[in-house]
């Protein structure tokens, strides 16, 4: 193996191939953010240019317009089998972050995701979370079971070692598969640079600010930055001491806000 990125890539490909082989009905979440773009890229590496499962985008309607443009363009260019989920009922009756950020997140992201899973009968959902993002994600498994209500039993997770993943599970339950769990934010950008992976413009600084993490417009803030290229972002990340999700409001409502969200089936 030549580099640390090669090692990260090889491990992710191994995970994606395990998921594809062991799980009947599988789909990948595509948030349009940097991690899921990298994950999609890794899928094309794993399957030699093909994406052999549906790609789900849960549209909250509060996404930043550039993200939707990006989604449309690359879904076409890369020939992605795209499923778009959304909670129309909740939106119709006025769901917004004003009702509480966690309430909104679970109504507009977790619920429609569960709906897509139910409707299509998916038994495996590939999600691009990373351990270094946040404390509960640091405790995640690569193959992480969710019960029939899509809940995460984080107090009793299965053992996982020697790259032997939990691939047996009861009917009605499903697995979350996390091929990027072992990556760091800096790794992601270095890989984007190496592979020349297209990214939404929002990550690059305009007028001294840029997005470091992409979510919904009302709940995701920009950070101060002059990084206008991938190389500059990498330079910036080598020295920064602010955390990646510092621009994310839903994590901060209370000490355990994010834990509760994730326990209920959020990514």
């Amino acid at each position: 193996m030549t580099s640390d990125l090669d090692a990260l890539e090889a491990q992710s490909i191994f995970i994606l191939r395990e998921a594809f082989n062991r799980i009947d009905k599988i789909a990948m979440l595509w948030s349009i953010g940097k991690d899921s773009n990298v994950m999609l890229w890794l899928a094309r590496k794993a399957f030699f240019g093909h994406v052999p499962f549906p790609v789900i985008h849960v549209d909250t309607s509060y996404k930043i317009p550039e993200m939707i443009e990006f989604r449309e363009r690359y879904a076409r260019e890369w020939n992605l089998p795209l499923i778009i989920g959304g909670n129309k009922a909740a939106l119709a009756e006025g769901m917004s972050p004003d009702r509480g950020r966690v309430t909104c997140c679970s109504a507009l992201k977790t619920e429609p995701l569960k709906e897509v899973i139910r409707e299509h009968g998916f038994t495996g959902i590939i999600a691009g979370i990373r351990r270094d993002e946040e404390g509960t994600r640091a405790k995640e498994r690569v193959f992480s079971p969710r019960n029939a209500a899509a809940e995460w039993d984080f107090k009793d997770q299965p053992p996982e070692f020697w790259d032997q993943f939990k691939t047996d599970f009861a009917p009605g339950t499903h697995l979350r598969i996390h091929p990027l769990l072992h990556w760091g934010e800096l790794d992601v950008w270095r890989y984007i640079e190496r592979e020349n992976i297209p990214m939404v413009d929002l990550y690059f600084a305009k007028n001294g600010r840029r997005y470091r993490s992409l979510g919904c417009a009302p709940c995701t803030g920009t950070v101060e930055s002059n990084a206008t290229t991938v190389a500059e972002i990498i330079e910036e990340l080598r020295t920064t001491k602010t955390s990646e999700r510092s621009g994310r409001a839903q994590d901060k409502e209370s000490e355990d806000a994010f834990e509760r969200l994730r326990q209920q089936g959020y990514m």
Binding site: M1, S3, D4, L5, D6, A7, E9, A10, Q11, I13, F14, R17, E18, F20, N21, W41, R44, K45, A46, F47, F48, G49, H50, P52, R131, D132, E134, G135, T136, A138, K139, R141, F154, K155, Q157, P158, P159, E160, F161, W162, Q164, K166, D168, F169, A170, H182, G184, R190, E193, R194, E195, K241, T242, S243, S246, E255, D256, E259
Partner: protein, 632 residues
Amino acid sequence: MNAVLRPLKIVIVGHVDHGKSTLVGRLLHETGSLPDGKVENLRAVCDKRGMPFEWAFVMDALQAERDQGITIDTSQIPFKTALRPYVIIDAPGHKEFLKNMVTGAASAEAAVLVIDALEGVQEQSRRHGYLLHLLGLRQLAVVVNKMDAVAFSQERFDAVSAEIRAYLGEIGVSPTHIIPIAARHGDNMVSRSERTPWYQGPTVVQALDAFQPAAEATALPLRFPVQDIYKFDHRRIVAGRIESGRLKVGDRLLFSPSGKTARVASIESWNAPAQSVAVAGQSVGVTLDEQIFIERGQIASLLEQPPMGSDLFRARLFWLGRTPLTEGRRYKLKLATAEHIVAVEKVERVIDVTDLATAESRSVERNAVAEVLLRAAGPVALDPFTDNPRTGRFVLVDQYDIVGGGVISMDGLPDSRCAPSVVGQDLTAVQHKVTPQSRAAANRHRGGVIWLTGLSGAGKSSISMEVERRLFHRGFQVFTLDGDNIRQGLNSDLGFGPEDRAENIRRIGEVANLFVQAGMVVITSFISPYRADRDRARAANPTSFHEVWVKAGVEECKRRDPKGLYAKAVAGTIPDFTGISAPYEEPLHPELVLDTEKLSLEETVDRLIRYIERDMQREPGVDLESRPDASI
């Protein structure tokens, strides 16, 4: 692009509450690895709970963990020293969460064992030390924590050091360093503490920097387990990760245990430069020059260095299941990408990790370590763990859950290398013009193998020679193949190790089969201790094979000891002696059991002759040629 070192993975282990998470939190803080605001945020969290500041909360992110002051699940966090990047894996110390400890520890390249200076070495200190060793981890530093609570006493430090050094010494581990620290206060973490003037060794950070990254598996023989076969386009791609060794275009691969072979025609990739060589750690896809049928689970190797193929193997395992592992039970085994159903043939010994005592038991409780014999329905491609860890370890699955992990040893078992099935593929059997039916008609009985098995001294030779004599006088075409006679001739090149025993039996099985084809009754009289070997002999001619267990216990055979062999074996002058220093696997479904402890020689001979006559002699007055199936 800057070359970036791969992070070294370190796991922090030890008994509950000895300060593992505190050590990690403090280490991240001391090395400036925490994001801005993290300490303030945790201070607020602790204030709100009305408790003193707790460094462990950096890692213990779950509410339940903070409420109970205990780590439930393992977590991983990156950090850097001036030398290199690390991933620190914090493991829980409570016995209840051993599965999570294993989850964290199994991927580490080195470990830090934390021991509370006040409490000293406790049950999980030992268990974790033992499991690290079992998992194959060889680099371990010890920290004696909470030195502030023992007034930084050198005497106490020396006592704890001596205790853990003694335990680790017994399992063959010698710690790289033993460091006195107070994690909560930062003593000897990144700089030498003034409170331990008597200590001259490295700090925690220096001890970490002294660890070596795990060696690449590239130097080992090629092991390329098939993960999947893709046919997304015109290519048929065999996908998988190279676990060890290297492969290149043009190499002839042997797929085990199927024995099929084909050459690597290309190494495929997407958005990457074309490769002609691939090495350990890479997830690759290859195309083959021949469209052979292979499936997930086969392990590809080079022809010269295949894995072993065995349906019986020994393992040292740790059990995580809620219900005990028990003899006779079946589990799903996952080894690399292969899955097999295995039965627990025997629990050989259960190891008490606290004092390393071993006990006999037919079951293994949760969180215990044991040595077991496992049997699969067919050959499993594997390597002994010491030869190749990545294909020498497995997990067991019960229902939906992973319930244990084990490392393989083939000590005392036949080493049957997986061999290419191409050997002999150009041979075609020539048809005889004399049919088995004609032979049976002429002999007035059909041919068959009477396969006697049993311990040395059980009575096989006495029975076989007497039966041969009496059948001969009744007009049977009969011959006895006896152990010592065959070993002086046909098998004079073979010894008594497991492989040679297997080969000995294989040849006898083949020779016996020739006798059967010649229409004769052949009595074989060999210990033939391994079930797999006897099954192979049966497979050569399933309809004419009769397994006869000449049964007598070891104690009785020792007492009889007609050739004085048991005395020598017990004295140690004969190695690998069945029943003493090598196993005897009792037949599961023999056609006939002759219990020589209960029956006299006369009675056993009578029984066997009756059995043979009933099975093989023609019925009076029936013309064998005229029977349509001739299957009397």
